[in-house]
């Protein structure tokens, strides 16, 4: 065999291995997806699923509207709390990166990212539930906000760092204040990347169960009042999936499928936003 042929063969084998590995990595993903779709789709085909709340077992027409709204309210409140703070924090990391505050923020974000979400739930329980002896959607949203914060901070930091230094210099050379350059010039140039981070944080928060166990707790009834205990889609999965009642199990699968679809949509959207960010940064 000539040297060239040997090289071609080696190349072919290496390629085959790489493809095999890639396919292997796809197996769990596609299994989860297929299995959830197969089990969850029936629930999603009933309108009741979206517009009704829980009913006693055996009575038809039950739904998870209370959980959908609970997730929306808690994640919405958590976003209001964590996204602005996270964006300012992330900008601070890049623009004033050497200041002492920045190193604290970075440390806090790193620790928070690694903290188990159940611990965050416990912390918020001690802070906002135990003293009032009352679970609440608000406590749930605080727990989710704590979870989201480091994701937003780090994504903002990465997006802002992509903005070329020349843009800052050009702004400062016009006599603009540093904070204005950071917030009104650099941050808009990083907007698609920041948006990506915020969306990923939202998807993560929407899918979390553990932080809600001792905070939002769950609620069989429909409520939009964050002072009350609140249900959420992951809590439905958690509570209903292992019950002996097929109707509840079906609901749990439905809720799981909704969460997966949400994550999928958010990821696709964030990819698009990230591509725009890179294109934008390239042009500046």
């Amino acid at each position: 065999m000539s040297r060239n042929n040997r090289r071609l063969l080696a190349d072919g084998i290496a390629r085959a291995i790489v493809y095999a590995m890639a396919l292997l990595a796809l197996v769990p993903l596609s299994l989860v997806l297929l299995y959830t779709v197969a089990n969850g789709l029936p629930a999603l085909t009933h309108l009741d699923f979206f517009i009704h709340v829980e009913r006693p077992v055996g009575i038809p027409g039950a739904g998870v509207a209370h959980a959908i709204v609970g997730t929306a309210v808690m994640v919405g409140l958590a976003s209001l709390m964590s996204i602005p703070v996270g964006i300012i924090g992330g900008v601070n990391l890049v623009e004033y990166g050497r200041a002492r505050v920045a190193s604290w923020i970075r440390l806090a974000a790193d620790v928070l990212v690694g903290t188990p979400s159940i611990a965050i739930g416990l912390f918020v329980y001690a802070l906002l539930v135990a003293p009032f002896k009352h679970f609440s959607g608000f406590a749930g949203s605080v727990a989710l906000a704590v979870l989201m914060l480091p994701v937003v901070i780090r994504a903002t930091e990465a997006a802002v760092a992509l903005v070329p230094g020349g843009l800052r210099e050009a702004g400062l050379a016009l006599g603009l204040a540093r904070w204005r350059v950071a917030l009104q010039l650099v941050l808009p140039a990083a907007a698609p990347g920041v948006l990506t981070g915020a969306m990923l944080a939202v998807a993560r928060a929407a899918g979390e169960t553990a932080p809600l166990l001792f905070t939002g707790f769950g609620n069989r009834f429909f409520t939009t009042n964050p002072a009350q205990p609140m249900s959420a889609l992951p809590l439905i999965v958690y509570h209903d999936a292992l019950t002996p009642y097929p109707s509840l199990v079906e609901q749990a699968w439905g809720a799981a499928l909704m969460l997966i679809l949400l994550t999928l949509v958010v990821n696709l959207a964030s990819r698009y936003a990230l591509r725009r960010q890179i294109a934008l940064a390239g042009k500046l």
Binding site: R98, P164, G166, L167, R168, E169, A170, G171, L172, A173, L174, G175, L176, A177, R180, Q184, L185, P188, A189, L280, K283, L284
Partner: protein, 280 residues
């Protein structure tokens, strides 16, 4: 391109540039007095004395790394962005020492800067020029007037007046650079610093920038860093030649004179070596 230019006979400066350097015609706008500059421990500039003349073009030339950009960035305190950097001496502008100036925003409005890369804002042509004015709190109608005036002053108006809302980055390289000059003019500086403003441009765009400078100097004081000696001899009224001291690598001012004199009768041997191309 630069290699070829060295050693060739340099273009004679225009008559107007010669007239502008006649003694007594102008006064000092910025007075650089005994300036040393440090990046941390490294001394980048040593004892620079230079008088920038009002409504004249002063060129800073010299080999790479001799501190031209550093000197330029002292004049609008851009070096403040580099942690650990520090300047000593005095740079007098309007009765105040720039090095100890408190109000950097006002200083940078008075002393604008154009960079090698246009670094346009991710906005429309119109907003690139008007952005700073809007943030400075100008009324809409005044901003619109200033945008038009600045684009006209930057010789760009005719080319963009029908597409003011197109993104700035959709323009050609030369147009982008003129847009960045318009952006700088909009805040009505008194002095314009230019760091190799044409070194990334084609010859025709370069000539347009040079024409523009010759017009702007009627109203502004201009300091330009250039690698291109022909460019210096074409546009500058005064030229400062800088060189790195081989012992401590600090940049020093070798010779400062009216451009005609510096290129035709250099007083320092090292200047002569450099402009005739006998020098790295």
């Amino acid at each position: 391109m630069q290699e070829k230019e060295r050693g060739s006979t340099l273009a004679a400066p225009t008559a107007s540039a010669q007239l502008r350097t006649l003694p007594g015609g102008t006064e000092t706008r910025i007075s650089i007095e005994g300036v040393d500059f440090y990046y941390g421990r490294f001394q980048a500039l040593n004892d620079i004395d230079l008088k920038i003349q009002d409504k004249r073009i002063t060129a800073l030339i010299g080999p790479s790394g001799c501190g031209k950009s550093t000197l330029l960035r002292i004049l609008n305190r851009m070096y403040d962005l580099v942690p650990g950097s520090r300047a000593e001496g005095r740079v007098m502008f309007e009765g105040e020492n720039i090095l100890t100036a408190r109000n950097l925003l006002e200083l940078r409005q008075n002393i604008g800067m154009v960079f090698q890369k246009p670094s346009l804002f991710p906005m429309s042509i119109r907003d690139n020029v008007g952005f700073a004015l809007r943030l400075h709190g100008w009324k809409k109608s005044r901003v619109a007037e200033a945008v038009e005036r600045s684009l006209k002053d930057a010789n760009l108006w005719e080319e963009v007046k029908d597409r003011l809302d197109a993104p700035g980055v959709s323009l050609s390289g030369g147009q982008q650079q003129r847009l960045s000059i318009a952006r700088c003019l909009a805040v009505q500086p008194k002095v314009i610093l230019m760091d190799e403003p044409a070194s990334a441009l084609d010859p025709i765009s370069t000539l347009k920038i040079e024409d523009l400078m010759a017009r702007l100097v009627n109203d502004y004081t201009i300091v330009i860093v250039t690698h291109n000696m022909q460019q210096a001899s074409r546009v500058a009224d005064y030229t400062a030649f800088m060189l790195m001291n081989p012992e401590n690598r600090a940049g020093e001012l070798v010779e400062f004179a009216p451009t005609v004199e510096l290129f035709q009768r250099p007083r320092d041997r090292r200047t002569e070596d450099y402009i005739t191309g006998r020098f790295g």
